[in-house]
């Protein structure tokens, strides 16, 4: 489609919406955008990083005298080829507003906004269920920026059935799916396609219903010395509030601790902790300094959550795992 000088802002809007739904191709790397209320329309042009770009000054003759500006600043004539502007091996600094004026009259003949970028690389996609059996979410990102706008489209298939992935308002790169079936051995297949004006890419992941279950960390983790027994510590915690049905799907917790003078974590097998003197940990909570971030260190388990309890004192952390049939865990956990 082509633009005409007779077009009004109303025409601008409908044509821009139409062109934005067409797939990008070499000859349609450009799109039009309207500036509402001004009656003017701006041409947006997308070009690849490193490409040579030639801009025509509207309908001017090839050898007409013109002046090109970049972001309002006159450009050097060495970059002109007659009335055309030639930009060699464009980089990100070339992005900006370009305008062309007739030589003597300074009439604006052409205006465009150049955006230099790249086509998208294969996106990174992951899915996780932290609220089993309600549903799961998928989130994605690009491994490197494209510097131009991207559109993402996700499809979720469970066998022959396509499931709805409801996009989050924030962050924008995430959507939620509700489980329509439970305990199914049919795999889920999620395909994410990313498209921009310079190209398209996609990725697909396939997984079993249980494979993506990963509870959130335990909440309200508190460690206190036991009165009259400085060699013991009492730790309390709660199920993550995002886990909707701990009665039917109980969580099992793993606790690890580390005296500050040591680098190695020790795992508690029966949730009973006793410190010995000489390890730098006494009964004084005030003697414990600093905080250490959580790390994923699950022993072999069906589905493991994330280490939580990133708190001070920092030498303890807990994480929940799923599908326990033991007596550990529960609504409120406590270890001494």
């Amino acid at each position: 489609m082509t633009w005409s000088k007779l077009l009004t802002p109303n025409h601008c809007r409908s044509l821009w919406l139409s062109s934005s739904t067409s797939p990008p191709a070499e000859e349609s790397r450009t799109s039009w955008r309207c500036c509402w209320g001004t009656g003017r329309y701006t041409h947006v042009q997308y070009e690849r990083l490193g490409a040579d770009v030639t801009m025509q000054c509207g309908a001017m003759d090839g050898d007409a005298a013109v002046t090109w500006t970049a972001n309002g600043t006159d450009m050097d004539e060495s970059q002109f080829n007659g009335s055309r502007l030639v930009l060699r091996s464009v980089d990100l600094t070339h992005s900006g507003q370009y305008a062309c004026y007739e030589g003597s009259s300074w009439h604006l003949k052409y205006q465009t906004y150049l955006k230099v970028g790249t086509s998208p690389k294969e996106p990174v996609l992951m899915c996780r269920s932290n609220n089993y059996p309600k549903g799961f979410y998928c989130s994605w990102h690009l491994p490197s920026p494209t510097y131009i706008p991207n559109a993402f489209n996700i499809t979720v298939m469970h066998g022959p059935r396509e499931l709805v992935c409801e996009k989050d308002a924030f962050p924008k790169n995430r959507c939620h799916i509700r489980y329509l079936q439970l305990f199914s051995t049919v795999k889920y297949k999620v395909t994410l396609t990313v498209t921009n004006a310079l190209g398209r890419n996609a990725t697909t992941i396939t997984f079993d219903e249980f494979a993506i279950v990963k509870p959130d960390p335990p909440e309200n983790v508190v460690a206190k010395p036991v009165s009259n027994n400085p060699r013991r510590l009492e730790v309390r915690w709660q199920n993550p509030s995002s886990w909707p049905d701990p009665e039917s799907f109980p969580l099992k917790f793993f606790l690890r601790y580390r005296p500050l003078i040591l680098d190695q974590w020790q795992h508690v097998s029966d949730l009973s902790i006793a410190f010995t003197e000489g390890q730098g940990v006494g009964g004084k909570a005030g003697g414990l300094l600093g905080c250490r971030g959580p790390s994923l260190q699950p022993p072999p388990c069906l589905n493991s959550g994330v280490w939580g309890g990133n708190f001070c004192p920092p030498f303890l952390s807990l994480y929940p795992a799923h599908f326990s049939t033991g007596k550990q865990g529960g609504k409120e956990g406590r270890g001494v």
């Binding site: 329509l180 305990f183 199914s184 051995t185 049919v186 039917s248 033991g326």
Partner: protein, 197 residues
């Protein structure tokens, strides 16, 4: 007059049975997970292989939000484990006769799971009887003529059996906990009623 706040013997027995069944289901789940790993390795299969063509294995899948009665829940589980007893027996025989005739350790692993499945089925039968529910009908799947099954089909079928069994055990834990939860509620109601008298 004043009723005891303790649970009735039937309720206690019910809870004990449920707890034991839950523990056993969890144990089966754990053993089947290990067995699956060794199965795919020994059969030279990829875990992601499509098993859609394999029929005759009870599927654990349920529609989200399907509300089953206590009898339906337990009955469905029992029927499944009855079927798995037969299916595991066939898988074991195929491994012994055709696929891994010398791997007696592997056969022992399958046998162990089979025995546990039989025990779980028995516990479910007891539970149904204790709760006053009838046994579900036993619907034999009518096995295909094993003679027409290729070696590859045997391998796929065995994998399907183990995969569905693994999912059934997770479902069973959920179902049994639901049954326990509901009976706790009923027990409370009974105690309240008794105290009023």
């Amino acid at each position: 007059m004043m009723a005891s706040a303790e649970q009735t013997p039937v309720t206690l027995q019910h809870h004990n049975l449920c707890s034991r069944a839950i523990l056993l289901a969890g144990k089966i789940r754990s053993d089947v997970a290990s067995l699956l790993e060794s199965y795919v390795e020994r059969q030279g299969l990829d875990r992601t292989i499509s098993l859609d063509s394999v029929d005759g294995v009870p599927r654990a899948a349920v529609e989200q939000g399907d509300e089953l009665t206590e009898a339906e829940r337990l009955g469905a589980n029992l029927q499944a484990y009855w079927a798995f007893q037969v299916l595991l027996g066939e898988v074991l025989e195929e491994q012994r006769s055709h696929l891994t005739p010398l791997d007696t350790d592997f056969h022992a692993s399958i046998q162990s799971v089979l025995l546990q499945v039989a025990a779980l089925a028995y516990q479910l039968e007891e539970l149904l009887a204790l709760l006053g529910h009838g046994r579900p009908a036993w619907e034999a799947a009518g096995p295909e003529d094993p003679g027409h099954r290729s070696l590859f089909e045997m391998k796929l079928r065995g994998l399907k059996v183990l995969q569905e069994l693994a999912h059934w055990t997770v479902r069973s834990v959920r179902d049994l906990r639901q049954v326990t939860k509901h009976s706790r509620g009923s027990g409370t109601a009974h105690r309240g009623q008794a105290q009023k008298e």
